[in-house]
């Protein structure tokens, strides 16, 4: 009896090799046809004209730790503006001998954010850790206890302020947005119309005008002698604004859910809250991760608008440095640096969202 050869012709057949070596790849991808060849040449020329000069400016001719006078005589980038002013850019008017406090608060925040990335750690204990960390961060920023000198919030600024506004803005806006989306789907007319009016009103107004209203109009309605902290008002404006956008995205996700999922949940006897919490929201929120993250990222960047109500966030502290006669004229370097910080944060968010999507994918 003849046994079938373990590697018959059919099992040996491999997918066709589309390229042979580097030259083959270049030929088939960059120079296949006159149009693509032309494009390749044009792009090559543009890259040649832009990248080497930028590299020369940013790296070869650049100065990293020098005085501003030295910079003015050099051809390259003056990165020295960053280390020379790093403390003001980062912490604003926070008293300089106390600046370890916001630094520590930020370290706590970043460490916790990274620690919380892993979904396996999302337990009750993590919530307690966060609560504890919040108290610690608040104490570090505000002081006034345990021998820490009090620092008025008017002196908060720079990166801690940006992180504060965005991290709390986003984490508060998200659940609020979900509640608004559910409210908009409610069968109770009062709840529904309230949510619709809220969402449409807020979405119809630019964030800048909300911030203005929070700092100019809102205090007019407060009783005599009562003041609400400027940062808190900006924070609330950001939360309310972002929540309206998140609500609409979440509503899209809710509408994408099939009726069968509701019916299956209901036919098990689950009540409305259980159905939403256990069945509908986990799926709907997963579907809308990409647009939600877009909103969170843009909300993060929009926190820089608080400059218009005289809060010294990261962008404003940088601009202040640039208005210093000594460093005037080095705005390219300063803005590139700020852009990199913003980019790092946004890239982290979008990266993490992709990881979440991957982890939550159940192949349905």
């Amino acid at each position: 009896m003849q046994t079938v050869a373990p590697q018959s012709a059919s099992t040996q057949l491999k997918p066709p090799v589309t390229s042979v070596g580097v030259i083959g790849w270049v030929k088939s991808n960059l120079f296949n046809g006159w149009f693509n060849s032309l494009l390749t040449l044009v792009c090559g020329y543009l890259i040649f004209r832009t990248v080497p000069p930028f590299f020369k400016w940013a790296v070869v001719d650049s100065l990293w730790f020098s005085t501003s006078e030295a910079c003015r005589n050099a051809d390259g980038a003056c990165w020295s503006i960053i280390p020379a002013n790093i403390r003001f850019i980062t912490f604003g008017f926070f008293p300089s001998e106390q600046q370890w406090r916001p630094l520590l608060a930020m370290v706590i925040l970043v460490v916790l954010l990274f620690y919380s990335q892993n979904r396996k750690r999302w337990r009750k204990s993590l919530a307690y850790i966060w609560a504890l960390a919040l108290v610690a961060m608040g104490l570090l920023m505000k002081g006034g206890l345990f021998g820490l000198p009090a620092v008025d919030s008017a002196q908060w600024g720079g990166l801690p302020l940006t992180l504060l506004l965005s991290v709390f803005g986003l984490t508060a806006a998200y659940p609020l947005g979900v509640v608004l989306a559910l409210g908009r789907q409610s069968r109770m007319p009062a709840v529904k119309s309230l949510c619709v009016v809220y969402i449409e009103l807020i979405r119809g107004v630019p964030l800048i005008s909300l911030l203005f209203m929070s700092s100019v109009v809102f205090p007019l309605f407060l009783p005599e002698g009562v003041t609400v902290n400027n940062i808190l008002r900006a924070q609330v404006a950001i939360i309310l604004f972002t929540a309206a956008y998140i609500a609409e995205v979440v509503r899209g996700g809710l509408q994408g859910m099939s009726k069968g999922q509701y019916e299956a949940a209901e036919s098990l006897g689950l009540n409305y809250y259980q159905t939403m919490r256990l069945i509908i929201l986990p799926q709907a929120l997963k579907i809308v991760i990409p647009p939600t993250v877009s909103i969170l990222i843009s909300a993060f960047k929009d926190t820089s608008l608080v400059v218009i109500i005289a809060l010294f966030d990261l962008l404003k502290t940088t601009q202040s440095v640039l208005s210093d006669p000594q460093w005037r004229g080095f705005s390219n370097e300063a803005y590139i640096f700020i852009a990199l910080i913003y980019f790092a944060c946004c890239f982290f968010m979008s990266n993490y969202s992709r990881r979440l999507e991957r982890e939550l994918d159940t192949k349905y």
């Binding site: 036919s267 098990l268 069945i279 159940t362």
Partner: protein, 254 residues
């Protein structure tokens, strides 16, 4: 076979439907339905599409609301009282045409969700029960997988097991095999037949006439929102009374 069926059909009614009407907008979808289902009775409902058969069984656990008449399940009348509805839904299992498993949960989690959250069973016990029923539908080895990784027939068996985990008194099946590939119909019907042997009260909307012949006590024929004819399977298939029943049977039996 016949003897056994008659013996197991109890006299006590577990579902009572009296003069029930339902409209979708202006469309009168169910007209004056009267139906009594005894404990351990098995009823197969057939009829052309749009005849209201799915709507009828969906009214029994209030996935659809009736507008006139009475529906009493296990001694509880279905009204707008949400607590009663949830109580009845927990007692009445439902299997859907499109399975409707929860795709974000594993098979095991699909099965334990109801018992844990509605029946307040401890997780460990709920998982034991779930594994027992998964064994029963011959799918225990898939417990850790997600619904999307299973075939249609496997998913439907999981859906049946999910309902059974709630220890229901009545099981409703809404065309459980019509979304399946032909080669998977049998594995699902086999599970339903074994369920029938154990004395489960079942209402099955189905065109599986073989299934009706072998397990049903009664076959109902619906058309235009009415129950036109009902009889035991032998007489129903051998001597249909109504012209429309004859026409329908000739169409589906080829």
């Amino acid at each position: 076979m016949v003897e056994e069926k008659i013996q197991t059909a109890g006299q006590q009614a577990i579902i009572e439907i009296k003069n029930m009407h339902k409209w979708f907008g202006d469309f009168h979808v169910l007209k004056d339905i009267n139906l009594q289902v005894g404990k351990q009775e098995r009823i197969v409902i057939c009829g052309p599409s749009g005849s209201g058969k799915s709507t009828l069984i969906r009214c029994i656990n209030r996935l659809e609301e009736h507008q006139r008449g009475q529906i009493i399940v296990d001694g509880i009348e279905l009204t707008n009282d949400i607590k009663n509805i949830e109580k009845i839904r927990a007692e009445v299992g439902m299997v859907f045409q499109h399975f409707n498993l929860f795709p974000h949960l594993t098979i095991l989690e699909n099965l334990t969700l109801g018992p844990i959250w509605v029946r307040k069973v401890p997780r460990k016990d709920a998982e034991e029960t779930a594994m027992y029923y998964l064994e029963k539908v011959h799918i225990a080895e898939q417990a850790r997988k997600y619904p999307g990784q299973l075939s249609g027939g496997q998913q439907q068996r999981v859906a049946i097991a999910r309902s059974l985990c709630m220890k229901p008194n009545v099981m409703l099946f809404d065309e459980p095999t019509s979304a399946l590939d032909p080669e998977m119909v049998k594995e699902v019907l086999d599970v339903m037949i074994s369920l029938a042997r154990e004395g489960m009260t079942m209402l099955v909307v189905s065109h599986e006439m073989g299934f009706a012949k072998s397990v049903a006590h009664r076959v109902l024929f619906m058309d235009g929102g009415e129950i036109l004819e009902q009889n035991n399977p032998e007489d129903f298939f051998e001597h249909p009374q109504h012209d429309r029943t004859k026409l329908f049977l000739s169409q589906i039996l080829h």
